[in-house]
Amino acid sequence: MDTSMTRSAGPAFDALEVRSDFPLLSETIHGKPLVYLDNAASTQKPRAVIDAVSNFYCHSYSNVHRGVHALSVRATEAYEGARDTMRDFLGAADRKEIVFVRGTTEGINLVAQGMTGSMGPGDEVLISGLEHHSNIVPWQMLCERTGAKLQVARIDDSGEVDLDEYRRLLSPRTRIVAMSHISNALGTVNPVKEMIALARAAGSLTLVDGAQAAAHMPIDVQDLDADFYTISSHKMFGPSGIGVLYGKQARLEALPPYQGGGDMILSVTFEKTTYNELPYRFEAGTPCIEAAVGMGVAARYLMDLGFDRIEPYESRLLQDATDVLRQVPDVQLIGTARNKASVISFTLGDIHSHDVGTIVDSEAVAIRVGHHCAQPVMDRFGVSSTCRASLAMYNTLDDVKRLAEALHKVREVFRL
């Protein structure tokens, strides 16, 4: 266990103090104080991240890895410093294993694209029935290119992956298993460590979509023994447009380059190009430098707060929030897994989620309504869409009570 995750065994977690670090949370919407409960879609940014990006532009901006001038050195140090922070954040063994990508979606595509040449008919990719479209479509495309087959381990009525079926579907044909750490649609926390061990025993590679996990729980890729683990900055209080793909060094080395261009080469002639070493081999072109710097600051901010304090607070909040929403007549929870984080998905009578969304927005409560980029999950529960409240560490039970009041207003408008 990385000690940086647990070092802040300080006072109890103070959500209101944390909230004061986030300028946007003081906004008023339609003349009312904002309640932001759409954190699974994207999180707000603390002052530290906003300032870091601004300061980088004001004092350090230049391209990276190119110039000999002072600013280029400064920018490169900031960018590479962010890589070191992300190595700490994910518990990776080596900074070479931290590849900056645009986000989780690109991380998954990089791996799926890279496996094209080594797969063919008879091979299989195994995913779970909980996945976000970004952890379905790249694998479907890989299967279309190679003739491999996509297998899906179903979920049960509570929204948990059926582990018996998962075990049955693992076979010597399974080349890679891709699973979310936390479901964005239902909040189910998958037993990824166990699932990875089973996949490894079957001889398969593993990729974890950690987009929903990074803001809510400590991640230790070595403890999980994942071959690949990928996260998005914007879902963990950092800037959008940047993320990290972690890959074990040997696994990354086995993948061909993803995109060709500058920075990913050692030498280029018209006859032959020698590719750069890890991780630069996968970082063609000028990256989103300022966002990477901001992501590093967001990760540092989270590590300083300490997941040992964040996690118990959020776990209690989720439980209390669930109780509050359950008391609203006609609320039907979708997804009741034993181990959940952040997300409460629900329907309200037979009122369509978009009508709910519009009315609660008039009360300045921001929730997500729709299919949450997880249509197969919606199909599984026989609904076309749900309402989703997703919590972060800066939310309080008062936020959830404001949502409950807004839901009463929806019932009033619809005369339920």
Partner: protein, 151 residues
């Protein structure tokens, strides 16, 4: 922000709960088109029976929010018996009602004017216009439109 009561008027709630002309159409002169809003997953199928340039019958089916269901229901009521020329004119007027701030309250739209409140909610305009665009697709495609099957 305008009052929610403007948006969710009694007529709209009524038509969303008890949609008129819901169901399929079947016949030689019937056409259908499927409409889909990928943002929210709403799906509507519009069935139209056009004979001699006149909408003889018009129905719809599908799942959607209160606004899209009520809009489809009200549309089927409003356009039955209209000529294709009249339908096109009402399509344009309805579109103006949804998108233009100073849309002249078109008398010809009659009951459809209850949907005027939608224009204050830009992200919901597509809900109200989905059935209309689907109808237009069915009519414009004419003989090329997907024929109604009863399979």
């Amino acid at each position: 922000m305008s009052d929610l009561r403007e948006l969710y008027q009694e007529v709209i709630l009524d038509h969303s709960r008890q949609p008129r002309n819901r169901g399929e159409l079947d016949g030689e002169s019937c056409r259908k088109a499927n409409g889909h809003n990928p943002l929210c997953g709403d799906k509507v199928t519009v069935y139209v029976d056009v004979q001699d340039g006149v909408v003889r019958n018009l129905t719809f089916d599908g799942v959607g929010c209160a606004i899209s269901t009520a809009s489809a229901s009200l549309m089927t009521e409003a356009l039955r018996g209209k000529t294709i020329v009249e339908v096109q004119r009402m399509f344009d007027e309805f579109h103006a009602l949804m998108t233009s701030d100073d849309a002249t309250e078109a008398e010809a739209l009659g009951k459809l004017q209850v949907l005027a409140g939608v224009r204050d909610y830009p992200v919901r305009v597509k809900c109200a216009t989905l059935a209309w665009h689907t109808l237009k697709a069915a009519i414009d495609a004419g003989k090329d439109a997907e024929p109604v099957t009863t399979e």
